[in-house]
């Protein structure tokens, strides 16, 4: 086995080793884990949380606003003097159905 091949084996074992120094997660008891937690749950946590949540608050408000702003749709059929009431829509089979 050449030296180069041995070095490749050694490198592969180091990468796959469970005791690698890169081992880190939010709840890990490792140096990187501690570092991660200290940088996550610091004085800026709530501000960052609010920033991440802000667009979701805006889209919920937008969805509710749109819900109440939806207009009645004018159907060309209705314009010809035929009123489309819900009873008729329920009785006529077709692609558009109403829930019952």
């Amino acid at each position: 086995m050449t030296i180069r091949r041995r070095l490749r084996w050694l490198l592969g074992l180091t990468v796959l080793s469970p005791s690698s120094h890169l081992h880190a997660c939010t709840v890990c008891d490792s140096q990187a884990g501690h570092q991660l937690r200290s940088q996550l749950f610091n004085g800026h946590f709530l501000r960052t949380f609010a920033c991440i949540g802000l667009p979701w608050g805006v889209v919920v408000l937008a969805a509710l606003t749109l819900y109440f702003a939806v207009p009645d749709f004018q159907s060309p059929v209705a314009n010809e003097g035929e009123n489309l009431d819900q009873t008729r829509l329920t009785l006529v089979p077709g692609t558009a159905r109403t829930s019952s």
């Binding site: 940088q39 960052t48 969805a63 939806v70 558009a96």
Partner: protein, 160 residues
């Protein structure tokens, strides 16, 4: 006249579902597969393992919000289906999904990319053009969705 009480529940359900699914497209495609940006990648530069993991944490929170949105959307859809008199138009529902996706892209593009600048669409280059394309896509989806919702209901009602 197609009354709004017959259309609103389905539009709301489709829009909320579209917002959630649009969030998942952003999170899965841009954050995870392409890795163009992460949630805080303009504030916490992804140059170390810990910084990468900080971004991963906030990505997870972002995905939690998208999951909640989809869950609420499913509940709203269930309510719409059960409610008497609601027109169950497939075309209008699909258009609502597109509309919701557009609303998500517009709001996210304006709030996250431009106002708060917590990240940009493409973090490693000239970000303005990418941000503008993202906003333009969101605007096009919103307009197309709004027009298609109306025409979807009208077409389905007329064909019945």
């Amino acid at each position: 006249v197609i009354s709004r009480t017959a259309t609103r529940p389905l539009i709301l359900a489709g829009t909320v579902l579209g917002i959630g699914m649009g969030g998942f497209v952003d999170g899965i495609l841009f954050h995870q597969i392409l890795q163009l940006h992460n949630m805080l990648s303009n504030w916490v530069i992804r140059d170390t393992l810990v910084n990468e993991q900080i971004n991963m944490f906030w990505d997870g929170l972002f995905h939690s919000f998208t999951w909640l949105c989809v869950a609420v959307g499913i509940w709203l859809l269930w309510q719409a289906v059960k409610r008497p008199g609601v027109i169950l138009s497939g075309k209008a529902f699909c258009a609502s999904l597109v509309f919701g996706w557009g609303v998500f892209n517009l709001v996210e593009g304006l709030v996250d990319h431009e106002i708060l600048q917590i990240h940009h669409v493409y973090q490693n280059g000239s970000h303005l053009i990418w941000d503008l394309v993202f906003l333009a896509f969101g605007t096009a989806e919103t307009i197309f969705g709004a027009v298609a919702i109306r025409s979807g209901f009208v077409a389905d009602v007329n064909s019945s």
